[in-house]
């Protein structure tokens, strides 16, 4: 017995179950080199005994779809170029969703809105998520209003947020909201490659005028500032890296006449880079925006014992290499100051040596690879071992009401609303039907005067169109006040606000059924009873109702948040009505009128009216309606997210 237990333990020990981690980012080797990728690679390598890593990224090269980089399987999703600094990989969210189930832990390297989209929609809620916060979104800040809610949702559901320095939490408002989840794990560097003796001979270069910089050639790295700083100075500048800015930088170097002193070296191998770092006299990091959060390369330069010139950003950059100790820190974007700082170091070999020494010491002690690995492992382990509790938090919005319940409550409320009408008057909602019948008759006679067509045969369709229009119009208008009218139920009984928007649709649906008596009667009286067209019209009618509901949901929520929207919605609906063939029939007006063709209402009616009249739906109308519905569904999703805050608005 004892023996068997031992073997069991042994086998368990032999095949340790390594939890698997999926790293989620936009790009990976071999498509690009850079700080973030180095970090991912180091995490994969450093934690390989404890975690099995995998990477899911985008790539512009189609093949191979799967490859292995440093023993780590990498899956690359096809991307069709970059759109607003994001890979245009439409299938990425889907691939991510498929992959989530295969892994025990998700590591998102933010910012990456494409993945935020997946998490914001609630996919993969069962897997623990760790967010590596590499940088805030700096470029395309105009899209913030759209991206930020997504990122907030991701962060809310994250188990832990890893930042390289605490200053990032202080300066990023979004992170401050999740202060309690943030873990500071400074990047580490494996200093074995930068062995002291090897460096010694070149430690202080006699010529003393080689300035090195390293990074992707992208605008925020500020290499243009460095190039301008080199004007009228003596030092030589070598820049390692590749990127989209290259032609511009090359042109700049030519125009400033610096071709003999400033060189773009392109991509170089790791060992080559280390050699260059050891060769150089001063390392410069001229980054100009907060997209540079840490500056792993300056850490590498420090490990190589180089003095650093960096910029005073609000990030960890001036805290890794500190002004006056390991570096000279200059204002970002200031070419003059940058040039002066470099010159000061170039001209003072003793200061260079002193700074280089303390830089090396700081890199070794403060930013060791071991500390980084241990920090990461702790965070990952905690995230994996406490997933069950977290899953309860993921289901967090503590709403006791599920979807079917919501629908049931909304239906009960709508039913009671309708009964309320009967309480006040015997005819109930039929008063409205009567009113509509009068409208139809009057409209019908007016139209009969205007055109010489047979108006009687058209009356049923006119009445039906009016019923449908009344339904759409009242659902939307009703929805704009629904939340305010039900404030007490939302705030005191904690009912989800969406119930009351559903209630509008149901209530108006019931009223529409009452109104439908008018077209039904007219049809029974006026036309030959042919039901064969009713069935093909049904799908179109369903589309119509779905669009109406989604429109009510979105506009209802928006009008509650912004009270000045209600009159705008009212008049827009009226305009849309007048510019649509709801009361006019196609023959009466030139149906090629642009306004009418652009009006979604036209097509929304066409998808069910045409088949009902025995015709065929114009494919354009169908596409138009489907696209509208798609947009509305997307907007509804966003609205549902924001409806959580509806209690504040009412």
């Amino acid at each position: 017995m004892h023996h068997s237990q031992e073997t069991l333990q042994e086998t368990l020990h032999e095949i340790p179950h390594r939890p698997s981690v999926l790293h989620i980012f936009k790009i990976y080797y071999p498509d690009l080199f850079g700080g973030t990728l180095t970090v991912i690679r180091d995490i994969c390598a450093g934690l390989k005994d404890a975690f099995a890593s995998a990477v899911l990224v985008c790539s512009q090269s189609a093949k191979p779809r799967e490859l292995v980089v440093n023993d780590v399987p990498v899956e690359r999703v096809r991307s069709f170029g970059n759109l607003l600094s994001l890979p245009a990989a439409p299938t990425y969210p889907w691939r991510l969703w498929r992959k989530i189930a295969e892994h025990d832990l998700l590591a998102l390297h933010a910012p990456f809105p494409l993945a935020d989209l997946v998490f914001a929609l609630g996919f993969g809620a069962k897997r623990p998520l760790v967010v590596h916060w590499h940088a805030d979104i700096v470029t395309h800040a105009g899209l913030r209003w759209f991206i930020e809610p997504l990122m907030r949702r991701t962060l809310r559901r994250a188990k832990a947020i890893i930042v390289s320095d605490h200053v990032l939490v202080e300066t990023t408002p979004l992170l401050r909201e999740f202060d309690d989840k943030c873990h500071v794990v400074p990047f580490g560097i494996d200093t074995s490659g930068y062995d002291w003796p090897k460096i010694e001979p070149h430690h202080v270069n006699d010529r003393g005028r080689l300035v090195l910089a390293c990074g992707r050639l992208v605008p925020y790295k500020g290499f243009d500032v460095l190039i301008r700083a080199a004007v009228n100075r003596k030092f030589e500048v070598w820049i390692i890296g590749e990127g989209t800015e290259r032609p511009r930088l090359e042109q700049m170097i030519r125009e400033l006449g610096l071709t003999d002193r400033v060189r773009l070296l392109g991509s170089v191998s790791d060992s080559e880079r280390i050699k260059l770092m050891c060769l150089s006299d001063v390392f410069v990091m001229p980054s100009v925006t907060n997209a540079e959060t840490f500056g792993l390369v300056q850490l590498e330069a420090m490990a190589a014992g180089r003095p650093v010139v960096n910029t005073a950003l609000d990030t960890a950059v001036p805290r890794v290499a500190r002004h006056g100790m390991e570096a000279i820190t200059v204002p970002p974007g200031d070419a003059e100051k940058l040039g002066e700082a470099i010159d000061a170091l170039i001209g003072d070999p003793e200061r260079r040596r002193r700074m280089g020494l303390s830089a090396r010491t700081r890199a070794l002690t403060r930013y060791s690879a071991t500390a980084f690995r241990e920090g990461m492992e702790t965070v990952y382990r905690n995230a994996v071992t406490a997933p069950c509790r977290e899953s309860a938090t993921a289901a967090e919005p503590p709403q006791a009401t599920s979807w079917p319940d919501s629908v049931r409550i909304a239906a009960a409320l709508a039913w009671s609303d309708m009964r309320h009408r009967y309480v006040r008057s015997l005819l109930g909602p039929f008063w409205m039907s009567l009113q509509m019948a009068i409208v139809v008759v009057v409209l019908g006679s007016v139209i009969g005067q205007m055109s010489n067509a047979d108006i009687l045969s058209r009356l049923p369709m006119l009445a039906l169109s009016m019923t449908a229009w009344t339904f759409l119009n009242s659902v939307v208008l009703d929805a704009t006040t629904a939340l305010q009218n039900s404030a007490s139920l939302i705030r005191d009984r904690a009912l989800p606000p969406v119930i009351f928007l559903l209630q509008c649709t149901f209530r108006q649906g019931l009223f529409a059924l009452h109104n439908a008596c008018v077209p039904l009667l007219l049809w029974l009286v006026l036309s030959h009873h042919d039901l064969s067209h009713a069935l093909p019209a049904l799908p179109g009618l369903l589309l119509f109702v779905a669009c109406t509901f989604a429109l009510g949901l979105v506009l209802g929520a928006m009008a509650t948040r912004y009270r000045d929207l209600k009159p705008i919605i009212e008049s827009t609906l009226m305009l849309a009505f007048l510019a649509s063939p709801v009361i006019w029939s196609a023959e009466m007006i030139n149906h090629r009128a642009t306004v009418m063709r652009l009006n979604p209402l036209t097509h929304l009616f066409a998808v069910w009216r045409e088949p009902l009249a025995g015709g065929h739906v114009d494919p354009t109308s169908l596409v138009y309606v489907l696209v509208t519905l798609g947009l509305l569904i997307f907007a509804s999703m966003l609205t549902l997210v924001h409806l959580r805050k509806a209690a504040f608005w009412i």
């Binding site: 999740f178 006791a400 009960a412 009984r493 904690a494 009270r563 504040f648 608005w649």
Partner: protein, 246 residues
Amino acid sequence: MVSISLRNVCLDYPLYGAYDFSLKRRLLSHLIREPGEMRTIRAVDDVTIEAEPGARIGLAGPNGSGKSTLLRLIAGVYPPSSGHLEVRGNIVPLLGLNAGVNLDFVAEDNIALLLRIGGRKPTRSVIDEIWAFTELETRMQRLPLRMFSSGMLMRVLFATATAFPADILLLDEWLSVVDEHFAEKAERRLQNLVSQAAIVIIASHDQPLLRRTCTSIINLDHGRIASTMTVEPPATQTFELREKRA
């Protein structure tokens, strides 16, 4: 398992002024680059509460100290601005009694609707049971609530709201406008309900009520927990208070 867990929960309540409800103004301020900062008030500030089954928590504090807001936060009406909030079990928030009441309807229909809102099926026997508790005449069941006095209305609403036991019961200051006789009966029922619910949180200014009902009392001040005290349930004291009331 029923539980409530709040860890360092904060709620920043946005104060929407008249202008903040205007989309036009908001868009305009974007255009002229005048980022009108949203004014917020910290209604709940760094509150940590752990409640296991059996917990009866009283919330005390002056007006505006965040009692109701905290209850609404737990009920899921407001999303927390930061911190960790986890609630398991079915919550019955009874924060305002007259939510969802339609005065034009007869009492019976109102009861049925309120039960439906609470996710219960209104059967004849349930409604009769509720009506029996109100001690009102049977024929009044068919009268519109508009004709009821406020005290009678309160009886109906109280009886309906407390008809079913809950896992987690959130109660806000609400045992007011009824007469002496019904108040006592209501309190007995409340005690009964409280004894059935796993977790009860009551916000009230009525210190004796809190002492009788709760196992611990949290004093709130400006959204912060000012003090927490545990109430030992001495049976004699309960008696004493009962006698005083009678």
